[in-house]
């Protein structure tokens, strides 16, 4: 089966994609409304917590961090797949990424925005959050450059701004198409402004290619560093269960994993909501599914490495935390994480499930559930079973405020994502055209060589 039909007319591509920007279907409004309602829950929780204090989240000594940090890591991880699809696969000339990278890239940006909010709601004094940034001030004070949390703040801001630039740069030719095709109104003005006078001249294309490639190359090390630094938040501390040198690659693998799973989910939703069957085809889905399976196995391996290194480290405290995870209060969640993260992806190894949409939808949600549990299982058990036995406390449970915030963050993400899909083309039109063109050239060539070979055979 082909990744994409080779005989789609370019005008039809424009038409199909631009249709997604027009009056939404009812389903779109339903999704938007649900997302808004979910966000409302989170806003309510935050207002309450802001007014009364962090105590309402039911954190205590020693449970200083909770679901906020776990979900923060989850969203940061989610952001990695966009860069993987758009930048890494771009450099590797994997052109099957073309119809789907735009929404993956948007996912990167929005999940980073969501993650940033979790830092804010986690802070005891969110109104002083700017203290953590190296801004010039009269008092001559700087943040503490030794703290991994500061590296975090800087890495996330850099990654966020770069991925916005990358998303935007890659969209310029498409914005020009929108500018030319859309009816008069505020959006026409917006596209005119954003497309920066794009006319599609040779010189513009050349400059565009160079810029896009440069930003892509710049983004890849950033993506790796961001999650390595998030891993450093834990690896650099000396708490049992955190002080593990394999954390950075483990976190990066986990990030790509949950990101790819999320791409499958969104792929299926977009394909259905915007009727993109022509572009988001099953063979492309199959390729992401295989990629996800490979990353799932890497993650499983790194998990095993972590357990083994803790088990044979003879560090009793770390070992106790591991035993606690597998048999204590958190055991159901820990085993659920192992099940969702390492067992469920085995389904993806079977060819007949690799294009089965209902199965894939369920599996991708389960994978992300597993990855969220993984982050929670990194954060929480260490607090409940630290180095100092007097502080052991296995019974502290996050309150509805924390759960509400986690729940609402999915609404916030969906809201941003759905609005983006209505305002900007979520399938890259110019790259799909490129892909169609290249594929048709290729098959022409094949046909010719085929004819030639056939002719050659005849001569003998």
């Amino acid at each position: 089966m082909k990744d994409i039909r080779e005989d789609i007319a370019w005008a039809k591509i424009n038409q199909d994609v631009l249709k997604s920007l027009e009056n939404p279907r009812k389903l779109y409004w339903v999704i938007l409304f649900i997302a808004l309602a979910m966000l409302g829950v989170a806003v309510g929780c935050e207002v309450y917590q802001y007014e009364v204090g962090m105590g309402v989240a039911n954190m205590d000594n020693p449970h200083m961090w909770g679901l906020y940090i776990a979900t923060f890591i989850f969203w940061i991880g989610m952001s990695h797949s966009g860069t993987l699809l758009s930048a890494i696969l771009h450099l590797m000339h994997a052109d099957w990424r073309k119809p789907i990278y735009r929404f993956a890239e948007a996912m990167t940006t929005f999940s980073l925005l969501t993650a940033g909010l979790f830092v804010a709601v986690h802070l005891g004094r969110v109104w002083q959050i700017y203290y953590a940034l190296p801004y010039p001030n009269e008092r001559g004070t700087w943040p503490n450059f030794q703290s991994p949390l500061l590296w975090d703040a800087m890495a996330i801001f850099t990654y966020l701004s770069s991925s916005i630039i990358f998303l935007y740069v890659g969209m310029i030719p498409d914005l020009a198409i929108c500018r030319d095709r859309i009816h008069e109104g505020w959006r026409k003005k917006l596209y005119t402004l954003l497309s920066l006078g794009w006319e599609g001249t040779d010189r513009q294309w050349r400059n565009f290619r160079v810029t896009y490639l440069t930003v892509a190359c710049f983004l890849i090390p950033l993506a790796v560093s961001v999650h390595s630094i998030v891993a450093s938040d834990f690896g650099m501390s000396q708490q049992p269960g955190w002080h593990i040198t394999s954390f950075p690659p483990y976190f990066v693998a986990g990030a790509l994993y949950s990101g790819c799973a999320a791409i499958i989910t969104l792929f299926i939703i977009l394909r259905y909501v915007f009727r993109f069957e022509e572009y988001m085809t099953l063979p492309i889905l199959k390729k992401i599914v295989r990629l996800t399976f490979a990353i799932a196995m890497v993650w499983t391996y790194l998990n095993a490495v972590e357990f083994a290194s803790v088990w044979y480290s003879h560090d009793q405290a770390s070992k106790d935390v591991l035993i606690q995870k597998a048999s204590g209060t958190y055991a159901p969640f820990w085993w659920a994480m192992i099940f969702c993260g390492s067992i469920v992806p085995l389904v993806l190894a079977f060819k007949r499930f690799q294009t089965n949409i209902p199965v894939l939808f369920a599996v991708s949600l389960l994978l992300n559930l597993g990855m969220w549990l993984e982050r929670w299982m990194i954060v929480a058990p260490t607090f409940s079973h630290g180095i100092y036995p007097w502080t052991w406390d296995h019974d502290q449970w996050p309150s509805f405020v924390q759960w509400g915030m986690v729940f609402g963050s999915f609404g916030w993400f969906t809201l941003l994502f759905m609005v983006f899909c209505k305002v900007f083309p979520s399938v890259s039109m110019y790259e799909v055209k490129e892909m169609v063109y290249h594929r048709s050239q290729q098959s022409k060539k094949q046909e010719e060589t085929g004819k030639f070979a056939a002719a050659g055979k005849g001569a003998h």
Binding site: D60, L123, T141
Partner: protein
Amino acid sequence: MSISNLLENWSQFRHTHPVEDKPHDPYKWAMSIDLDACSGCNACSVACYAENNLPVVGKEKYANGQVMHWIRIEHYWDEDVGEEGGREFPDQGAQFLPMMCQQCEAAPCETVCPVGATNHTPDGLNSQIYNRCIGSRYCSANCPYKVRYFNWYDYPSTENIWPAEMTQQLNPDVTVRGKGVMEKCTFCVQRLAAAKVTAKSEGRIVQDGEVQTACQQACPTSAISFGNLVDPESRVHKQWRAQQVELDKDKQAKDEKEGGTELRGYRILEDMRPYPSVMYLERVRESAI
């Protein structure tokens, strides 16, 4: 501009190793606690509440783990309690251990604070700047002793934390902390500062016994001694030397000796190398009760 400040001053920030390089001159505040003398009466904890304006959070929050005691009395029941044929109340044995911030020389909490709100002072204290704290709680996450306490609620504005007539007894030398900041034992830094000012105006350094921490003052059995470790005449210095406990070691030479040692001095979690400033004297009697 602050870039020059960054290059000139902040590049020196924790450039030196707090134990190996920095000479504590003329002060290094330290403590020693005799567990044999401790009867677990909690007077130290109460004194600390009074001295440092600690909020009394009430039963519900206490049960919820949100208590604010800077010094806590940990009780460890004897091994045979609750077991078959073991002892029951009142014959049961228990051991007590007062636990407060250990004022580590290489404090795990200091390096991780994103805003530099917790720092080392030249006289060996682990200081906390309430105004700078943004409440990321990373310090507590990395504290092996978990002796940092977070203001989960806005206690000063909460009812019954300090009943109206009792606001008059708040210590004017100590800040009342609002919600969202971290706090912990300061070794009664307000008393130290006052004593240092007095001594300086008289052109001398603080003498041993001139300054006491609130917990030390309240201890009925004098289990807690506090003073200047640099001063060879101080009680703390003598105790540390008698016990052969050295501040800048992660393993004491006396413990290396074959057959062990009769000396009682030890520091908690010493091998993790936080270089704590509190020495405990091991219990010799079987139990406190």
